[in-house]
């Protein structure tokens, strides 16, 4: 086990000099505690993930979806993890590491509020001061999570700059870290940032695929034909993929947020999507070389997705590398398809998925439809025939639960006239 700062050409440590010693200290701690289990770190981490977090999470056969798509669909139920998303795997790992490193304080950015909530929970659990940076737009669209963080006694610091989403929150958390680097650990929320973050966060999240690989062999008697996960920064994605990367027969699909289409509004430096793997270009952001949504000058574009947790202009360097290597297939689905998938799982399986996870679920529908239609759906690139390659045995990572998204979903389903949604009347006058 070792720590390598790069994934092919991607990754690296592009941070201000003031942070470099912290990054080096963290690399050292990562190698000792996480890779070498010094002082029993990994044992304690695993124990707390089980007792506090509720691991293992089930791998559930989705009966209705399996019938609908005429293949075996299994759901990895990260929505059942404490806090309601896979985010706790990482947050608990990093907060525990901060304690092992003797830090007094942690900071974190959050987009959907899930990483912030998970970090606030872990910080309360392990008794360490916690401040969360969150963009103003995200604060407004993820209110319940803001309240949850505060109930856990974390300070939530609104970030007013730019579009007020995840990108700006990361900028601001990096600034805090650079100011308080000596006693503070930055609990980054996805497989992004400078080395060792992408590798370390992936290791913490890999428990997902470690379990899923065991579970599918037990339940289906073999490895899956494909694994499907949504990709924002990509932590649930690599968490769900990692242990399958060496299983070459298992196809890995990273489903990005297609937003309202894979175009770019050059006038306003705005991408109406968040599909950095599908539509991004190599560049350097937030400490790493990776695929980015940027204009030809290198200015970072504002991304957009109905799902706050996917609304990010970058992506983890390891995923960028695996995509270039043709090991991971990047695909994307739009806002409407994600909303439909949200309602579909809620009605057919009795599980309310996070809007992020709804993207992964929406891809199933696209794949099935394109088999039926002979087309690959409107959001796909021409010539994309991956859709019918999901195969007969599919694992989908349900990265989180959708309770946090109810207000957004009700509003957006109405505004967009989403067929699958209950009529708005039942939410307004209907009672």
């Amino acid at each position: 086990m070792s720590s390598e700062p790069k994934f092919g050409d991607y990754g690296g440590q592009y941070v201000p000099e003031a942070l470099m010693p912290a990054v080096e200290e963290l690399t050292d701690a990562y190698e000792r505690y996480v890779l070498k289990n010094e002082d029993g770190f990994v044992d304690e981490f695993r124990r707390r993930l089980a007792d506090f977090g509720g691991r293992p999470t089930p791998l559930q056969r989705a009966d209705a979806l399996s019938e609908r798509y005429d293949r075996e669909i299994y759901l990895k139920r990260e929505d059942l993890l404490h806090g309601g998303a896979h985010k706790l795997n990482n947050a608990l790992g990093q907060v525990l590491l901060a304690k092992y490193m003797g830090k007094d304080r942690i900071v974190a950015e959050t987009g959907a509020g899930q990483h912030g909530t998970a970090t606030a929970m872990a910080a309360a659990h392990l008794d360490i001061d916690c401040e969360i940076y969150m963009g103003r737009t995200d604060i407004n669209r993820q209110r319940p999570n803001v309240f949850r963080m505060r109930i856990h006694d974390a300070a939530v610091n609104p970030v007013e700059m730019g579009s007020g989403t995840l990108k700006e929150a990361i900028n601001e958390t990096m600034r805090d870290w650079a100011t308080n680097v000596e006693d503070t650990h930055y609990v980054i929320g996805s497989i992004v940032g400078p080395h060792p973050f992408p590798q370390m966060v992936r290791d913490f999240q890999s428990v997902i695929s470690e379990e899923a690989r065991e579970q599918i062999r037990e339940k289906a008697g073999r490895l899956p034909d494909s694994v499907v996960a949504c990709a924002g920064g990509g932590s649930n994605t690599m968490g769900a993929f990692h242990e399958f990367v060496d299983d070459e027969a298992v196809d890995l699909y990273a489903v990005e947020a297609g937003g309202s289409g894979l175009t770019i509004d050059e006038e306003n430096d705005l991408a109406p999507h968040s599909a950095s793997l599908s539509a991004g270009e190599e560049g350097v952001l937030h400490g790493a070389r990776t695929k980015l949504l940027q204009n030809p000058d290198g200015q970072i574009l504002e991304s957009h997705s109905v799902s706050a947790g996917l609304d990010y202009s970058g992506v983890g360097p390891e995923l960028a590398h695996l995509v270039d290597d043709d090991r991971v297939t990047p695909v994307n689905v739009g806002d409407d398809a994600a909303l439909e998938a949200f309602h579909r799982l809620s009605k057919l399986e009795g599980i309310i998925p996070a809007l992020e996870s709804s993207h992964a679920l929406a891809y199933l529908e696209r794949a099935a439809r394109s088999v039926a239609d002979g087309s690959s759906g409107e959001q796909s690139e021409p010539g994309d025939d991956s859709a019918d390659e999901l195969g007969d045995l599919v694992v989908v990572n349900v990265s989180g639960r959708g309770d946090k998204d109810l207000d957004t979903v009700i509003e957006e389903s109405d505004a967009r006239d989403i067929d699958a949604a209950p009529s708005m009347e039942v939410f307004n006058g209907g009672e």
């Binding site: 201000p16 000099e17 010693p21 100011t179 560049g283 350097v284 940027q294 000058d297």
Partner: protein, 271 residues
């Protein structure tokens, strides 16, 4: 042979002044740079605005946003620089991605070549740590630009050695942790950093938080060869009131402070 930038420290302690190019527009920036030079600036650091300025505090973030909204791009930046007829060295401060993306092919060479051509004398890239800097250093050497490194209070001796092995122009001493922005005092860390750099044979300039004549004097008295001032000038730009005159006056004040610091005989012992 000392570079143009290094030479700017020869006569007396240098004032290095920063403004964001294009805040609020390219024409004004030219006027402001001339005012700073009139006021005594020995080097002008001209920010090329990047959308994710993670090393900046809120003052300079605001300047960068205004500049971007007004349409500043790497190309219009270089045009602006080429147009500038001041006789102090110009340093470009920007983030790595803009340098990397410039030109038709990715890589740092095209930008460095174009910057040299436009009249830039050196580069400061706050998100490019020394260990990732070799390609850029090479391009700078090839085109006669200085690559200026920032030394933080947290920088280890080991890292300091690696930086000094590559640095030219001057050493940018980050006076405190955190981001750029005017503060009301001089941090103790400044003195510690200067002491550590005593042996370095490059000029040492201190930045982050300097806004008053008093600060400048104290820092130069503490052993610095120059002071770097940004937010204090950007505040004046942002005010939109009588900007050029006030920039000139502020530069004069800070330069005077720096000169006083050099004249002042340091006390033999601190109490």
């Amino acid at each position: 042979m000392a570079s143009e930038i290094e030479a700017a420290f020869d006569d007396d302690p240098a004032l290095i002044s920063y403004v964001a190019a294009g805040d609020p527009d390219a024409e004004s920036t030219k006027e402001y740079v001339r005012a700073l030079v009139r006021g005594g600036a020995d080097i002008v650091e001209l920010g090329l605005p990047f959308s994710e300025p993670i090393a900046e505090g809120s003052t300079i973030q605001g300047a960068i946003r205004r500049a971007l909204e007004a349409g500043m791009t790497p190309q219009t930046y270089l045009d602006l620089v080429a147009d500038l007829d001041v006789d102090v060295p110009l340093v470009c401060m920007t983030y790595y991605n803009l340098i990397y993306q410039y030109g038709d092919d990715r890589g740092v060479e095209p930008f460095v070549a174009a910057a040299a051509e436009a009249g830039i004398a050196g580069l400061i890239v706050p998100d490019l740590p020394v260990d990732e800097s070799d390609p850029l250093k090479e391009a700078c050497d090839a085109h006669g630009l200085d690559l200026i490194f920032m030394v933080a209070p947290t920088t280890t001796d080991d890292r300091l050695d690696r930086m000094l092995a590559r640095a030219s122009g001057f050493v940018y001493v980050q006076g405190r942790l955190g981001t750029t922005g005017a503060r009301s005092d001089v941090s103790d860390e400044t003195h510690v950093s200067l002491d550590r750099l005593d042996a370095a044979d490059l000029p040492k300039a201190v930045g982050f938080g300097i806004s008053e004549r008093e600060h400048a004097r104290e820092i130069v008295a503490g052993g610095a060869d120059g002071v770097i001032v940004g937010s204090a000038f950007v505040d004046i730009v942002a005010s939109q009131e009588n900007v050029a005159d006030r920039l000139e006056a502020k530069a004069r004040e800070l330069k005077a402070g720096a000169v006083e610091g050099a004249e002042k005989v340091p006390e033999p012992e601190r109490t």
